[in-house]
């Protein structure tokens, strides 16, 4: 064992020696191989470099291949990979190569741009293209601007299209076919363009993630354009149906926008716009109504100018005006009801407001109508007048017939139109309430009735004054022209009497067309020229007339008792009623009173006095039928003669036979003239 162990030790030493020699040998090998390895590594690096160079050299062709296969993503990657080398050696070794690849990249950029702009590409593809362009350091912002410009242009075109729709609707504007404002073809076209627009917005949101604000703006522009079109239409006058049609289109667009761009809150935005539009629509409808009615009324003046001979021009205009008022108001109400009945979300939201607007609209409309009436009658040319209004009528004289017509029309509005409109409003436009309770309802019929009653009375009064003024001019001329102190013997009834009677004839002609006859004389009335406002349909007026009749009866009783004492005041200046007789009689009485006043200002010789006596006596025979109030007329005629006698230096009246004879001559002459005009 010991031997073995000693032997092992010796073996171990031998092993160590061997290892050491192996180590030194391998070190030797190592050092001898080192140079080679260095060389090989150098060669390897060169190879890599050469490969890269090869890549750079190949880049243009490779890019070309990519362009052909449209593998733009690869192309961009290659190009970007080559970038550092180009940066380092682009100016020297790889000049040609760089130029060629840049050209290729140029093509790529162009293609990519084309891709971005192309609507046929998928959104994903276009978004990628933008990304690639961005990697190529291409100024994408410019692209974006261009794209949005394009979108804006698209909007403008869209809007042009809607203008065309408008045009179509305008040409189709007949009252019957206003229903199809948007014919199916163009509405389909509109729908598809809107869809396109919505898609574009959807795409751009993805393509340009930071473009939201711009898109919101564009969507709002779309709504604005829509409402601008609505606004233009409203200006040109349109029906509720058309408005609703437009609102429907708008609303569907809005919903689409909401879908693709919820951040824009386009529905709220358009609600505000729609609110304004409906409000404007209501206002404009009323102003058109006002224009329509005024136009109808003004036909009186036009006819006068053209000189159309009609048997009852005033009456026909009155009827037309009444119809214009009632029919116009009813149409307007019907029209507005469509707005209320519409189930569109937009309309539902505006319902309460619309009711208030309609009520306010009517209130305002009647206020304006009243103003217009007073203006037309020439009563309100005082104070601060709207100049544009004044110029129209100011130059021409106001026709008395027009004033009379306005009087009766005011009465009609008070008694028939307002009650009907009130009823209609109560049934369909009552639950407004957006106004707040403290203000009460916007439409107050009692106030309007009061206003129009006042207006009617004012106009009637004005008519009487206009007519008496005209006669006053006649009388003034008659009494201021001759020298009454040197008057010659009366040979015939003076011509002014004829003129006076002519005036009364004209007044009767006008009054007959406009005003109803008094009830007690109803049997005189022929159906052909009566007014259509049947007094039966109007309990209010019946009542009033009855009252005035009893009043009249009472005053007649009084009159017989008081005979010719102090009844002058009671009888002459009575309140004017809306009847033919009342108006004619009032004018007659006022004119005879004027006659008396003119006589009182003169001094007469005997002949002058006799002339007055003769004229008055003739008037007495002819005026009998004119006046309903014979007693007052007689009294006034007497007063004229008395006044002439008082103002006469030598009041000796004509002998009755001479007076009779002269009157007979005149009567014969007049009837002869009437036979052969």
């Amino acid at each position: 064992m010991n031997n073995n162990i000693v032997g092992m030790e010796a073996n171990m030493e031998q092993l160590l020696d061997k290892i050491i020699s192996v180590q030194s040998r391998s070190d030797g090998v190592n050092t001898s191989l080192f140079e080679k390895r260095e060389h090989i590594e150098k060669l390897h690096r060169t190879r890599n470099l050469l490969r890269k160079v090869q890549f750079i050299y190949d880049l243009p062709t490779r890019l070309g291949k990519c362009i052909r296969s449209e593998a733009y993503a690869d192309a961009v990657r290659f190009y970007i990979g080559a970038m550092p080398i180009f940066k380092a050696y682009g100016d020297s070794s790889f000049q040609d190569c760089k130029r060629a690849s840049e050209e290729a990249v140029g093509i790529i950029t162009k293609n990519l741009q084309g891709k971005v702009f192309s609507d046929s590409e998928s959104i994903q593809a276009r978004a990628e293209a933008v990304m690639l362009l961005k990697q190529l350091n291409f100024p994408v912002e410019n692209l974006k601007v261009k794209l949005f410009e394009k979108l804006e242009q698209f909007l403008v075109d869209l809007h042009l299209e809607s203008k065309e729709i408008a045009h179509v609707s305008a040409t189709l504007d007949g009252p019957n076919n206003h229903g199809n404002v948007t014919d199916p073809a163009s509405s389909a076209a509109h729908e598809s363009s809107i869809h396109e627009f919505a898609e574009a917005i959807r795409a751009y949101r993805v393509i340009f993630p930071d473009s939201e604000q711009q898109l919101v703006r564009l969507a709002q522009d779309l709504v604005n354009m829509h409402f601008e079109a609505v606004h233009r239409h409203i200006k040109k006058q349109l029906q509720s149906e058309d408005l609703l049609e437009m609102l429907r289109v708008i609303w569907s667009d809005v919903l689409l926008m909401d879908e693709v761009l919820p951040e824009a809150a386009i529905s709220d935005f358009s609600l505000v716009a729609a609110r304004n539009a409906v409000k404007e629509y209501v206002a404009s409808t009323f102003s058109h109504l006002l224009l329509g009615i005024t136009g109808t009324i003004m036909k009186v003046q036009d006819r006068q100018k053209v000189g159309v001979e009609e048997e009852y021009p005033l009456q026909s205009v009155l009827e037309a005006s009444k119809k214009a008022v009632i029919q116009g108001c009813m149409n307007v109400l019907l029209d507005f009801r469509q707005l209320l009945d519409e189930k569109l979300e937009l309309s539902l939201k505006l319902r309460d407001l619309t009711i208030d607007w309609v009520q306010e609209g009517f209130q305002e409309f009647f206020r304006k109508l009243n103003e217009r009436f007073l203006f037309l009658s020439g009563k309100s040319n005082s104070g601060s007048q709207d100049l544009s209004l004044t110029q129209g009528v100011q130059g021409e004289k106001v026709l008395p017939g027009l004033v009379l017509l306005l009087a009766q029309l005011s009465l009609f509005i008070e008694q028939s139109a307002i009650p009907r409109i009130t009823e209609e409003i109560a049934s369909s436009f009552s639950s407004g309430g957006a106004r707040g309770y403290e203000y009460g309802p916007a439409f107050i019929p009692a106030v309007i009735c009061r206003t129009f009653r006042a207006a009617g009375e004012k106009c009637l009064d004005h008519y009487v004054r206009l007519r008496t003024q005209k006669i006053s001019v006649l009388l003034r001329k008659r009494f201021t022209t001759p020298n009454w102190v040197k008057h010659k013997e009366p040979r015939e009834v003076h011509m002014f009497v004829d003129l006076l009677l002519q005036e009364f004839e004209a007044i009767r002609g006008e009054v007959k067309q406009i005003l109803p006859p008094e009830l007690s004389r109803k049997h005189h009335r022929t159906d052909s020229n009566g007014s259509t406002t049947s007094s039966r349909s109007n309990p209010l007026r019946d009542d009033r007339m009855n009252r005035s009749n009893t009043q009249r009866a009472r005053s007649q009783l009084l009159e017989t008792h008081l005979a010719k004492l102090f009844k002058q005041k009671v009888e002459i200046f009575t309140k004017i009623e809306f009847t033919q007789e009342s108006v004619v009689t009032t004018i007659l009485k006022l004119c005879l009173k004027s006659l008396q006043e003119f006589v009182r200002l003169q001094t007469f010789n005997r002949r002058g006095f006799q002339q007055i006596q003769l004229d008055i006596e003739f008037l007495r025979t002819t005026l009998k039928d004119t006046s309903e109030d014979e007693a007052a007329t007689d009294f006034l005629l007497d007063e004229v003669v008395v006044a002439a006698a008082e103002r006469c230096l030598d009041p000796v009246p004509l002998d009755q036979p001479i007076l009779d004879k002269l009157i007979q001559v005149k009567v014969a002459k007049t009837s002869e003239q009437n036979l052969n005009p």
């Binding site: 107050i444 102190v485 002058q568 005041k569 001094t603």
Partner: protein, 350 residues
């Protein structure tokens, strides 16, 4: 409306048209009224309101040669007044003086201080210098405007200037502007003319036909009130003549005359041929004059008519405020009845 129960009456013998306040009488409220009778002896009455205000006393009664169409009291001498008169064809105007001791004379005669001769057409009106002692006087005939220089002590009247308004204008009356003594407004057939007395030229006009009468507001400058046959009363701002700034309905028939109260701005009396005298308060139009007429506020509009005095039996042509007691006025109807009334109870309380 209440009738004449509040008024104090006084009867003239004949028909009459004109009455004037005796402005120069500072001790009494007195009026001059004159008759209009073609055939009878015409009279001028000096009427005084008793100190207790319950009675009208005839202070003096003077016969006048012709029927009197216009009468105006001298503003500085209570015994002097002017008349415009006519006898059938001929017209004349004169300045008269009431004799000093007229109370002691049996049948006192008026002394004619001056005849305003030199007119060649119908004389319509004589105007005195608006206030104070001044020698100027204007007479208006149908075609001419004459400015007189009157010397009451020497008892002469001389024409200073005479200017024709043109043939066809038919002047009918006028009013002397109390705020501008060089300005006179004259009514004629078809317009109201404004004359400057320094140059005796027409400076302006309002084309507004058939104005019967006009009066300047004593308190408010540039305010002229006119009365019209058919269309009532118009109130004008003389700086803006295109439109009257206020219209009042006037009377049921012609509005014959208007008189502005000497103390209260906007208080106007009008008399008409409907046998009534109306008392108006014309509130100056505020900015929202037009809107106040609108439907919203029908109640806010105040009726300008304060009262209508209707207890007359004929047309009222004569009207005069008392300048001594400016709440009292006298009216004269054609039948010769003078009625003196107080407006105090109708004035709005302040």
């Amino acid at each position: 409306m209440q009738g004449g129960s509040t008024g104090i009456g006084y009867g003239l013998k004949y028909q009459a048209r004109c009455i004037s306040d005796v402005k120069a009488d500072t001790d009494h409220t007195s009026f001059l009224a004159a008759t209009l009778s073609l055939k009878e002896e015409n009279e001028v009455h000096l009427i005084r309101l008793s100190s207790d205000g319950n009675e009208l006393i005839c202070e003096g009664l003077f016969s006048h040669p012709n029927e009197i169409w216009d009468l105006a009291s001298c503003p500085f001498d209570q015994r002097i007044f002017s008349t415009v008169f006519s006898s059938g064809e001929s017209y004349g105007a004169a300045v008269w003086q009431i004799p000093e001791l007229y109370g002691q004379l049996n049948s006192p005669q008026l002394e004619r201080i001056a005849s305003l001769d030199g007119h060649d057409s119908k004389i319509r009106s004589v105007l005195w210098w608006p206030t104070g002692r001044h020698d100027k006087l204007i007479s208006i005939d149908e075609q001419n405007l004459l400015l007189w220089s009157l010397d009451t002590s020497k008892k002469t009247a001389q024409v200073q200037t005479k200017e024709s308004a043109g043939m066809l204008h038919y002047l009918s009356g006028g009013a002397w502007d109390p705020h501008d003594v060089n300005a006179v407004a004259i009514t004629c057939d078809s317009s109201i003319q404004f004359w400057d007395l320094r140059s005796m030229t027409k400076t302006n006009s309002i084309e507004h036909a058939h104005v019967r009468n006009l009066d300047y507001d004593m308190k408010k400058k540039y305010t002229l009130v006119t009365a019209d046959d058919e269309f009532g009363i118009h109130i004008w701002d003389t700086r803006m003549l295109n439109f009257p700034f206020l219209e009042l309905p006037g009377h049921a028939h012609w509005t014959w005359t208007v008189k502005c109260n000497p103390e209260i701005e906007g208080l106007i009396l009008s008399a008409g041929t409907d046998s009534a005298v109306n008392l108006w308060l014309a509130s100056p139009p505020n900015g929202d004059h037009l809107t106040s007429e609108s439907l919203e506020s029908p109640t806010r509009q105040v009726d300008p008519l304060l009262n209508s005095y209707t207890d007359y039996e004929d047309s009222v042509y004569g009207l005069a405020w008392s300048s001594r007691q400016p709440w009292i006025f006298a009216s004269l109807s054609y039948d010769g009845r003078v009625v003196v009334e107080s407006v105090k109870s109708h004035l709005p309380r302040k």
